[in-house]
Amino acid sequence: MKCKRCRRAAAAVDLPSHHSAFCPDCFFVFFRRQVEEGIRKFSLLSPRDRVLVCVSGGKDSLVLWDVLMELGYDTEGLYIDLGIEGYSDRSKEKVLAYAGARGKEPIVVDLRREGVPIPEAAKGSRKEECSVCGTVKRYFFNRVAASRGFSVVATGHNLDDESARLLGNLMHWQRDHLERQHPLLPGAGGGLVRKVKPLWRLSEMETAAYGFLKGIDYVTEECPMSHDATSLVYKEALSLIEEKMPGTRSKFYLGFLESKGTQSKGTQSKGTFISFLEEELATGRQEGAEEPLAKCALCGAPSYAETCAFCRLKEKVGKGGSR
């Protein structure tokens, strides 16, 4: 198979969802353009931003850091050591090696030192590991960004992640989650930093191919805590559909985002599924951004409740909530 772009070199990546196939050099061009278009579409980043890139050692986050550096953004990496025996050490090694080779030193938060290593925090709070992990990571993403003067937090969520999340939210009619699902979560007064997902147009396969062809050494093993993650069930269902009908996953997620977009322009049509969703989703994201948040009574982090989710978790784990 020849590259469909240069028509000279042999293709290395075939992309049925784009009716295309690319040689490594042309695939890099395709990949960068997808990221640039994803950023442009929702004004995720500006050249003046200081970007805190959250890196786990996996393919998506390291690829995100790589492509943002290549596009000229001012970036630093943040690695959160989850305290998962063996897995966290191997992930950290990958992050340090990647960063070191590029003259960077990532910021490291060690959850053991913070008193909330994920396995113990999940046990102590009697919650699912993935749920605890999400709460803790969101807290530190924001805390590090706000305290060190970053204007935006970037994560490596890709099209597969977002479409699986959308399917899960729809299956369970999680209206509040649907309202917040977007590649851009605006910041707010009171220290809540903007969050963006610049890889939202790219599939997991595409980010993995980019990482492989660029020689990025990432952790290929799965987090041992995530075997029962429900997101994997939704991903499996969407892969089956994607295999039979290439491009469906992208249409599913883009259609959802566009329905949000048309609502904000006031052009929704009444009586359709989309208009129902639009009404449900109508105002939260934009208006929420303008509301000043309260501060957590224990740690001072932005919070809609008296104490933030992280401090409530810490209390449950029995470590105390102040810092």
Binding site: A12, D161, F212, G215, S231
Partner: protein, 65 residues
């Protein structure tokens, strides 16, 4: 035989060759949209032919959590 390694599953198979990558994936019971197939530092497209005596790696790209 083609040697098929699946490092994340700590599994190895031997499949009679030659075969297209897509057929190797079918024989291994793996969905094509969920993996990369590599040979050394090369990425293989799904229509590529693999000869008897060669080795390929199937790398899962699915992350959960």
């Amino acid at each position: 035989m083609i040697r098929v390694r699946m490092p994340q599953k700590k599994k190895e198979l031997e499949i009679p060759g030659p075969k297209r990558v897509l057929d190797i994936l079918a024989a291994a019971g793996v969905r094509p949209t969920t993996v990369l197939v590599t040979q050394g530092n090369r990425l293989l497209t799904k229509d590529q032919r693999v000869e008897d005596g060669e080795t390929v790696d199937i790398i899962s790209v699915v992350s959960g959590g």
